[in-house]
């Protein structure tokens, strides 16, 4: 088994699918000859040919509409949107078309597309290169939303997404592309080398959509996180001294409610961590679900730690980014309260 970064693991997933399925193809801005601005599609055009991996016009609405049409024909397109911030020009196609095609045609047509997009902050990208739009997709029934937190999951989840017959939004935390990130921005960057999740099989395997991972067992509180925040959570747990159980949701739709409920029922406390703004964020849905299903087991109020309710501000990235310090504080509050 080889050690891979998340970029390499994603590249490997695409390579495997281009290799074993002639109906899979990739297109998006700069993905062809150049291999994508984050190099995720590097070398794929050369290896699999112009027709399998090619550049698209700067037209996100066009990219998604075309992908839906291809999907309706029977292909499995994997379009890339260069930054998740730029999914919004394609929003109507995703919401009104991809998400509902199967339902409204009574199963005559469907859109087996996987929309890949780098997302999240922590790279000084400013307002329009840092956003986390997962909650607005989670609200749209008919779309699946997947967010890996490590190289092994990234490859397995991406292959599962491509093989899935429903439209999947596959959000890649770009802060994790080259190494884990625990939110300690003033310390040296870590690399994936040496991380057990960076041991990635070369060939085909899947990580099923809708199955959360218990990253750390614990007895005193449950932390729900995904993407970059899984790593922030590990650091925050260490800082807090609380014996917390950490759950990496991996996909928010489908959502692994059973794992969440079992954990919170066991620990009696729940802290939700995400990078997107708090108000109306996906944490709200998680809190409501936990409240509905675990109310009698709860020993303290559910806490949410999230980005502030402002656009992502360039100079204040680290004031905005929910780091381990804020999580540790929330964990301690959860313990002290009751």
């Amino acid at each position: 088994m080889a050690t891979m970064t998340m970029i390499q693991a994603l590249n490997s997933a695409l390579d495997v699918k281009l290799g074993d399925d002639p109906d899979t193809l990739i297109f998006g801005q700069d993905v062809g000859y150049f291999g994508g601005v984050f190099r995720v599609t590097d070398g794929l055009q050369k290896k699999h040919g112009m027709q399998r991996c090619f550049d698209a016009p700067i037209s996100e609405g066009g990219i998604i509409a075309t992908a839906i049409g291809m999907g309706a024909y029977g292909l499995r397109p994997v379009p890339e949107i260069q930054f998740a911030d730029y999914i919004l020009p394609a929003f109507d196609q995703l919401v009104s078309e991809a998400a509902r095609l199967r339902y409204r045609s009574n199963g005559e047509f469907w859109a087996p597309i996987t929309v890949r997009s780098p997302y999240g902050g922590g790279i000084f990208g400013g307002q329009t290169h840092s956003q986390s739009p997962e909650a607005i997709f989670a609200h749209i029934t008919g779309l699946k939303t997947v967010i890996p937190s490590n190289p092994f999951d990234a490859k397995g989840l991406l292959i599962a997404a491509i093989e899935d017959d429903d439209p999947v939004i596959f959000l890649e935390p770009k802060r994790l592309y080259n190494g884990p990130f625990d939110g300690r921005h003033d310390q040296a960057l870590k690399t994936w080398a040496g991380d057990p999740t960076a041991e990635v099989p070369e060939g085909h395997y899947t990580v099923p959509l809708g199955k959360a991972a218990i990253v750390r067992q614990g007895s005193e509180a449950t932390i729900l996180a995904y993407g970059t925040m899984v790593h922030v959570a590990k650091a925050g747990i260490a800082d807090s001294g609380v014996d917390a159980e950490l759950i990496d949701l991996r996909s928010i739709v489908p959502l692994d409610v059973d794992t969440i409920v079992a954990s919170v029922t066991k620990t009696g406390r729940c802290v939700i961590l995400h990078e997107a703004s708090r108000f109306g964020g996906f944490g709200g849905e998680l809190a409501a679900l936990v409240q509905e299903r675990c109310f009698w087991a709860l020993k303290s109020p559910i806490e949410r730690v999230a980005g502030w309710d402002t656009p992502y501000p360039h100079a204040f990235e680290w004031d905005y980014f929910p780091g381990p310090g804020r999580l540790a504080k929330a964990l301690k509050r959860t313990m002290e309260n009751h």
Binding site: G32, F34, P57, I58, G61, L88, P89, D319
Partner: protein, 407 residues
């Protein structure tokens, strides 16, 4: 069902040269300047339909019809602003390499566009910029120190640390706020122009879009509205041949010119040498006269070349021949205007060298002043600013969240 004689085939456009190939620009067809005599600005659109396929040039073309007849002082102002823009960008690019900012983009080779248009249009007009027209601000003497403060996101950043470097906003200088979403402001230019017409005012709007971005729906929507309501606007496509690593063919250049996109909307389309300061000026003036006479919008394609990488994150030698910039057939806008001024006896190599050292000194002083305040991470506006400006008034979320971080 009929069987095709041949199986269908998917066409994927490819540029003529990749790294390792010889650089070529023979695919660009340039009809000589004489083919496009200057029409009256009020010529009806149906009589203007050859213009999208020609190339309006002035410098070195003996094309008296399009020569805007600028007085030498104005040409020298243009030269000065173009040169300052280039020096500024080189300096800020280095500042990025030294870790003083997170990001930067250059307009090398395209300086004539922002600068000539800035000088040709009136103070009350509004430009809806892209990230490659900072020459507009420099031509209007926007303080360099403020530009650098924004690039450094320091305590004196005029946009309070909220915006990415180079995405300026300078209302008093006719410079609308830049969004990171390319193309998203093109329609704002049309709306602003419509508002000016609605109010019976005299200001016109100038919208910029890159050739790659003409693929966005925003472009087509803006042209539709401009055409329907005869918006007093100039809609500029800066065709610099590359959109990051994608050549212009990915935006449709194999089929037609970008100026010709105007035809389907019933708008005049001019195709202009974007590296020719006088041609840029002349075309802008023509379109402005037309807009000011209530004859509506003009689409202008400036044919130019992106000499530098897309941004500090880009290495263009990965996708195009390394020597491609030196084969660009339309030359360097600064060099061309300089030579023109020398030819007409209004400039000299000595004066040019002196100007360059003067501008370098001004720039150095501005950079020194900005660095005294601080570079990225060394100085920033008060964190309280993070919560300001979401709404006109702070709502309870901002108040509570501010309190949570102790401010």
């Amino acid at each position: 069902m009929t069987d095709n004689a041949v199986p269908l085939r998917l066409h994927i456009p490819q540029p003529v040269a990749r790294p390792g190939d010889a650089s070529r620009f023979d695919y660009l067809s340039f009809v000589p300047g004489a083919a496009v005599q200057r029409p009256e600005f009020d010529t009806p659109e149906p009589e203007l339909r050859e213009f999208p396929y020609g190339l309006i040039r002035v410098i070195g073309e003996d094309n008296a019809a399009w020569d805007p007849g600028l007085d030498p002082e104005m040409m020298r102002s243009g030269l000065r602003a173009m040169l300052q823009t280039r020096l500024f960008e080189d300096r800020m690019f280095r500042a990025h390499r030294q870790g003083k900012t997170s990001f930067f983009m250059k307009s090398t080779g395209e300086e004539a566009i922002g600068v000539a248009q800035s000088l040709a249009l009136a103070p009350g007009d509004m430009c809806f910029p892209t990230y490659r027209v900072q020459g507009w601000l420099i031509a209007r003497d926007y303080p360099l120190e403020d530009m650098i403060n924004q690039i450094y996101s320091n305590e004196k950043d005029p946009l309070k640390g909220r915006q990415l470097p180079i995405l300026y906003s300078a209302r008093d200088y006719g410079f609308y706020s830049l969004s990171g979403n390319v193309g998203s402001r093109f329609g704002h230019a049309v709306g602003w122009a419509m508002a000016s017409a609605y109010k019976g005012a005299c200001h016109i709007a100038l919208g910029y879009i890159g050739e790659g971005t003409t693929a966005e729906g925003d472009f087509h929507e803006a042209l539709t509205f401009a055409s329907v309501y005869r918006a007093p606007a100039i809609l500029v496509i800066t065709n610099n041949q590359w959109a990051i690593s994608s050549f212009a063919g990915i935006a449709g250049a194999e089929q037609t010119t970008f100026a010709a996109k105007a035809l389907a909307y019933g708008l005049p389309g001019l195709r202009v040498d974007g590296n020719d300061f006088l041609a840029v000026w002349a075309a802008t003036k023509w379109a402005a006269d037309r807009a000011r006479a209530n004859l509506g919008a003009t689409v202008i394609e400036f044919v130019t070349y992106r000499v530098a990488g897309h941004s500090t994150s880009d290495d263009p030698t990965k996708y195009r021949p390394a020597d491609e910039p030196s084969h660009w057939p339309l030359g360097d806008p600064i060099e061309r205007l300089k030579v023109h001024l020398i030819d007409v006896g209004e400039w000299s190599e000595e004066r040019h060298a002196q100007l360059e050292s003067e501008l370098t000194e001004t720039l150095r002083a501005a950079q020194r002043a900005a660095e005294a305040i601080g570079t990225l991470g060394k100085s920033k506006p008060s964190v309280a600013e993070m919560f300001e400006g979401v709404f006109k008034e702070l709502d309870w979320r901002a108040i509570e969240q501010r309190r949570e971080i102790g401010i």
